[in-house]
Symmetry: C2
Subunit: 292 residues, 2 copies
């Protein structure tokens, strides 16, 4: 048994999927307890029955747990940590599922009681849905989960978090916090920022053009709206909590977009061909890596 | 029979699909003749046998045709038109499948012989493949085809081009040239420019980050590489031949991206939430229109 008493804070898409997975697979957790901020979500989780217990307070949820997973928007970590820190048991492993890792260390470390081990993690899985009904046990199968182990944390604590994600079917990788934040800024946060932006740009067009844009969106535009359909609170917090890496990648991207725009303006054929060819070669690289 | 002798210049993905469709459906064309610039492509089309005849010169291809469709990169239109204009028959309908329409009118109209009717069209369909082997008869089924009728062209000529695309299973819409170019700049050309750019931005990252980016690309980034895997000559020509509309949409987009980046930098929560929400509402709009 990896955990005797596993506490999942936030039984939404990610937390609810972890709970369902822990229920279905043997050896993950003897007892799964969860807490949701809203009374309605707690009632719904009780109805759905994917946890052994639904606590009515954060203190009650974490008390006696040997594993606590935060599955809430990263912007809520500091406030939740202030409430749970006094009740975390000695030897407890505190982990999470947030898309940023620098902010997680920044927000959780200062309040970490002695003997509680922080092991940040980021399962790279999701759908465009959210809430207690949206989770499913196989969400993490075959998807990467990045663990960012901190200095001075016992290897046994990291091993338990790794075991949890391997039980979920994930491919576990480790990385330092700063590299993680740069990589996800590029592969995920910047694409989302771009997707949200282009939807807004389209929405601002004159009424007639805008209607036609929606009508004919089935071309390239549609792929952008698919990733733009994500949870508002989650993405707001991701942007605000991976600010430096995101703004760095956005700056690189807009420089490159301006350079390509300039080449279009001045008819610089070779420059344009080179940029298109690079897109194709990156695509080929993904196909070779079976990521496409 | 819509056309007695239909000439398809460029039997690649689009031209080859039109030829196959014309073969399979009765009533489209009695005789399909095609021309490819390269000897290898002509030999391949003869092997594949999807046209009744493969001409060895442009003059031979268009001579006596009552319908001619240009299915070549829009940058090649002016040069090809100079070669075919002397051989176009009186009453012939000249149409095309290019992604830009202003440039098509600019490049074809000056050389148009009297009695030849220009009816520009844009089937909004494609795949990431190209060449004679890549086409298939059902490529246009259920996809939009935009016709941009010009002033002074007989309605019967427009009706024939409409009938061709309806036979292919397309949803035919008409639009003026300028509106077409703005709409496709937004729904297709800008998304492609962004996708090519972000692949290049990733490619320029330091080696270690770049490797990790490719490894973890399965998130948002992957959708961008899918549309970045397109034909180089086609997209180079599209960008250069829809320059004004594309640069206008790129300018709007980068302004909006900068505004969102600024909001992230200064922690303007409401602005960020508003942008994310707009992405979601555009997405919902597409789902309602069955475009998602």
């Amino acid at each position: 048994m990896i955990f005797e008493r596993l506490c999942i804070i936030g039984p939404g898409l990610i937390g609810g999927s972890i709970a369902r997975m822990a229920r279905e697979k043997g050896g993950v957790a003897r007892h799964v307890i969860t807490f949701a901020a809203s009374e309605a979500s707690r009632a719904r989780v009780r109805e759905l029955g994917f946890a052994d217990e639904v606590a009515d307070s954060l203190a009650e949820a974490v008390r006696g747990a040997d594993g606590v997973i935060l599955c809430i928007p990263v912007g809520a970590y500091a406030a939740v940590m202030a409430q749970i820190a006094p009740y975390l048991a000695e030897g407890c492993i505190l982990t999470d599922a947030g898309s940023t890792k620098g902010s997680v260390v920044r927000d959780l470390s200062p309040l970490l009681p002695p003997g509680v081990h922080l092991v940040p993690a980021h399962p790279m899985a999701g759908t465009e849905y959210s809430g207690p009904d949206s989770g499913f046990a196989t969400l993490f199968e075959g998807r990467y989960c990045i663990i960012t182990p901190l200095e001075g944390v016992p290897p046994e604590a990291v091993a338990k978090v790794r075991a949890l994600w391997e039980a979920a079917g994930s491919l576990v990788e480790t990385m330092d916090v700063a590299t993680h934040d740069k990589v996800v800024a590029m592969v995920s946060h910047l694409p989302h920022l771009i997707a949200f932006t282009i939807c807004g740009t389209a929405d601002d067009l004159a009424e007639e053009t805008r209607e036609a844009v929606l009508k004919f969106a089935a071309s390239g535009f549609r792929d952008f709206t698919r990733i733009a359909a994500s949870d508002v609170a989650m993405w707001r917090d991701v942007f605000l909590n991976n600010r430096e890496a995101l703004l760095e990648m956005l700056a690189r991207f807009t420089e490159d977009a301006h350079a390509l725009g300039r080449a279009v303006r001045y008819g610089e054929t070779e420059f344009i061909e080179d940029r298109i060819s690079r897109g194709r070669s990156i695509r080929r690289g993904l196909i070779e890596r079976k990521q496409a």
